[in-house]
Subunit: 356 residues, 4 copies
Amino acid sequence: MSASRSGGTIRAGIVGGTGYTGAELLRLLAQHPAVELVAITSRGEAGTPVDRLFTSLRGRVGLTFVEPAAARLERCDVVFFATPHGVAMSQARELLAGGARIIDLGADFRLRDAAEFERWYRVPHACPELLAEAVYGLPETAREAILRARIIAIPGCYPTSVLLGLLPLARLERERAGAVDWNGLIADCKSGVSGAGRKVEAELMAGEVSDNFRAYGLAGHRHQPEIEQQLRAAAGRAVQLTFVPHLVPMIRGIHATLYVRLEAAAEQDLQQLYERFYRNEPFVDVMPAGSCPDTRSVRGSNVARIAVHRPSRNLAIVLVVEDNLVKGAAGQAVQAMNIAFGRPESEGLTQIALLP
Amino acid sequence: MSASRSGGTIRAGIVGGTGYTGAELLRLLAQHPAVELVAITSRGEAGTPVDRLFTSLRGRVGLTFVEPAAARLERCDVVFFATPHGVAMSQARELLAGGARIIDLGADFRLRDAAEFERWYRVPHACPELLAEAVYGLPETAREAILRARIIAIPGCYPTSVLLGLLPLARLERERAGAVDWNGLIADCKSGVSGAGRKVEAELMAGEVSDNFRAYGLAGHRHQPEIEQQLRAAAGRAVQLTFVPHLVPMIRGIHATLYVRLEAAAEQDLQQLYERFYRNEPFVDVMPAGSCPDTRSVRGSNVARIAVHRPSRNLAIVLVVEDNLVKGAAGQAVQAMNIAFGRPESEGLTQIALLP
Amino acid sequence: MSASRSGGTIRAGIVGGTGYTGAELLRLLAQHPAVELVAITSRGEAGTPVDRLFTSLRGRVGLTFVEPAAARLERCDVVFFATPHGVAMSQARELLAGGARIIDLGADFRLRDAAEFERWYRVPHACPELLAEAVYGLPETAREAILRARIIAIPGCYPTSVLLGLLPLARLERERAGAVDWNGLIADCKSGVSGAGRKVEAELMAGEVSDNFRAYGLAGHRHQPEIEQQLRAAAGRAVQLTFVPHLVPMIRGIHATLYVRLEAAAEQDLQQLYERFYRNEPFVDVMPAGSCPDTRSVRGSNVARIAVHRPSRNLAIVLVVEDNLVKGAAGQAVQAMNIAFGRPESEGLTQIALLP
Amino acid sequence: MSASRSGGTIRAGIVGGTGYTGAELLRLLAQHPAVELVAITSRGEAGTPVDRLFTSLRGRVGLTFVEPAAARLERCDVVFFATPHGVAMSQARELLAGGARIIDLGADFRLRDAAEFERWYRVPHACPELLAEAVYGLPETAREAILRARIIAIPGCYPTSVLLGLLPLARLERERAGAVDWNGLIADCKSGVSGAGRKVEAELMAGEVSDNFRAYGLAGHRHQPEIEQQLRAAAGRAVQLTFVPHLVPMIRGIHATLYVRLEAAAEQDLQQLYERFYRNEPFVDVMPAGSCPDTRSVRGSNVARIAVHRPSRNLAIVLVVEDNLVKGAAGQAVQAMNIAFGRPESEGLTQIALLP
């Protein structure tokens, strides 16, 4: 299943290409040497050339948005959903039947449990029978599964940063139960405004966001169950996470500051643990001891950078930065596609961060 | 007519207090020692406490937004309209009949000619018979008229900056006809995002505006006829202005860069001309020769700062900065109110700019 | 001791007025009805008119920076030090001898223990004998002491936010020992760039800070001992705080996100606790339950806003916002001066936050 | 002369790689398939790994900064100077003698006239005899010359934008003398902060630049003589340009707003003129009539976008956007290198702009 039907080239379609993750997918796929973009859908912009909406793509993407019904997405080897929850699950059965694989950047296939999905998203799941086979597509934990998957659920932007920061500790837990206090995890996360998508909302106006900083979502954020589900699976035990997101007056970037109480892990060298864990990962960079990575060091690139601090014997502070639209969304989707189709994992993803 | 009906205190109402100019009026009026805020209307937010919408006013403004019909604005000495065009003119006759004076921060009473209003705003004027008596409320040119006016039209934010920058040259023209090329004026203007108001529009989202710069409105901007009308009146002759606005990724501030060809004015000392012209003005600051004022030097204050440059014998470059929400809107409105009601012109307007 | 020597007017001097806290002091004192600014010193800018350095003060502050030796500060009723550590302590004895009171916005008199000062600041303390009488000038905890103090140490910007957020819990601890886990406090704090002062440093350049976010100071921040000292005093027991500051691409504002484990306090109504604790405070605003205050709601004002969340029985999350230059520095200094000289506490401090 | 000495691979050195143009060169050259980076010099950072200074290059650039003397730049096929004026000219003779070609991103070889260089830069020119052979490396006007050049002077960031905006009119002038008023050109230009480089200066601090806008350099900017020199050459006649730069609170991007009086050109279709002129250019995009390009549409890419407006018969307004660090500096340098060494002109330069 790891090759495209058309031989060398991967024929890709995009559903919902008018948001920021859609635009970012277009940026990455237009530069990918093995991908042919065959269709991009939008109800609201059908008939509009893509490069009229996104001037940055002039001369690079010649497609025009089409109505979903006219897109003939069954021709595709892979269909990306850059849509709010609810869209991918409504088209999944038909696309799979036609032989396409699905990479969903939305939330429809992230939670294993349909009831939990319905509790957080307040709609019934349209194809609960597919949840079991869907793969939570964090390449660092699921390479093998992605290779064979028909449905790949790309993690949310916050979950990617929190999971990458905590996975080495989960492995430690597997090796030495009781090393970490899994009931007292704190994830104080900060995101640029593009994390909210290209939604037109009062609180995301430039006049509201600029020169301002605030927390939000303390009553419960939809990324929380997905983080806990994956941590549970990785650590092999129950976990409890306090997750507080904040809005930063910048465009791209997530910074996760993770506070973890250590119990029986006092003598462990965390720096070494992290370096070993990510030693062969092309897109996770463990920084030297003492570092404070900044979000711009990954702006526009698919890399996540991590630093581990140990202010006292019983506390670890893990700092993680990523570009929420790349490693936190579209880049991770392309990375998963590369794996799924047997391409080199870094193909089309070698952009260096834009600094300054 | 220069006193409030209620004796010392000016009873003020605000129509449309949910935008940025409304919020700024509230900030200024809440600190004004002679004003009592009696009502503030909003269709969309009726029933909402003002300080729930604008947290900054907690403990300072106890009012709740009310339906226009319930506001009983006829009780007021003055009613401010912080509304889009079309609202003030629809309520003007009734309010005047009740004895209130009107200070309109919108566009309904800025243009003398109903036909020109209709050409630019594409609606018929609701009370063209009142245009003749309405005063264009730029205090620097209209103090006497403001004192007696029943309707004061507060200039637009761009026009305030352009007019303050060119009025001394208009006086020069009166004294020495032919000094300036009035047909070749160029106003290259730059504004922060709050100039567009608190409208929820895609192109004003933080993700679109931040780290970005662009021109707009080259096909014709509604502030243009108002600038030309006032310049014509001041210079006593026809004028032609090229006006190009740009959007700056900042919240507040307008910077006008004005290019003026000089003809028979070669020996004139422009620095002296400007300093004399504004010598007694409390809110116009002519900077020392060679200065480049920055917008933050007036952020939050009612001051406009001006610098005059003369790169060659035949060219003047005039730089003007103002806070678009204060001297370009709400502050100018309060200044006009002070004049209209015989109060000290600077009362309630002595805030120093916030720097940094 | 609560009156100025000159009768009604307080004669004030400023040492080191070229930084951001100096500029902010000037903004506030220039608008204060009871203050006469008599001198402002700067070695580097002696001879420069204040309003040449800070254009925003044109027409409002007529002083010229003078050499410290020429300032004759002994004429003053009060001398503000807006200087790095080391300056105030070197001039304290002489000024006190001359009868002036000292309000130090730097760090020289914040720590009670000279040894601890020397450990963190790496210089010997110049007048350790004065530490005992110096008052840590957080008005919410030290009104009586401020009234009589000769030396008032204004808290640091971060400490103000953390202390205001935790003081009600400290009182709870006094009443019910064991209510709070004082050894596991986490203060995840975020500050705008003006918190670092007007220092010219590579990492504070606009090209480095804009569209970027990062943590810093994990190896130990000088504000930490001061927070712990005051919490210890308030709670009546040892405390241990993990303090992680972050740099936000904005100018003004601090947002503290405080994580506190609750132990025997499960049935306590924290919202009520906070509202009661701050009920009579003019500059601390406890927001309604469920709120997320934003930093701009206090930009330019002396108000701190606090929200208390209780995501689970055993955890409190306290959000605090303040303007680091006002309530976190110059505004708090003026508030302390008002108290010290028997003036109304809010005098000259009624500016409403600039929004947007 | 159009091939590298080492056959297929171009061996490149960089002098002065610690500024923003140096960092940008590193970003582009590290991704260039035909370039081998052999050395990068810095006096101040000798011994520091490049990726410690620029975290974004971790895993991508393995070099360490070396002392100029130790760099053995004579091994290189090409040496880039990303330095202030004065450095390239001091090393040019020696490098040329060793067989390397020079691409100078600084100002040493931009002006044809050594006396003019000395007037503006206030130092004697170190190798005036080389000025005659140096090529002003704007590819759109100098492809043939670049192919053979030993010294390529990369245009300044502002000049690139202004020249690209005016060159089609210069050709028109060649064809129809008197079409344009070349004595009244106005270039109102706006630049992000990275245009000033990575200099540590008070006025470029984040606290000074953010939420602020101002003009600068009205007394004369060093980019002016270079613009006039090239326009003179293109139009075949004298020109006079008023050039006013402004500082925008953003990181990257230049927006030029050009005002040109038209004389005998009234019936000319400017849109068509521009489209034809740039028809075959890979990096100049003439936008559809009526467009207002935004700077972010080229952020991180080597593309310049141009829109032509004609508000009246006698006036053209040309809008040009570029990324000052790419098409305005490092990207243009790589483009010139590609030409000089006979590589495909777009090689290594196909990055799509980062949006949002």
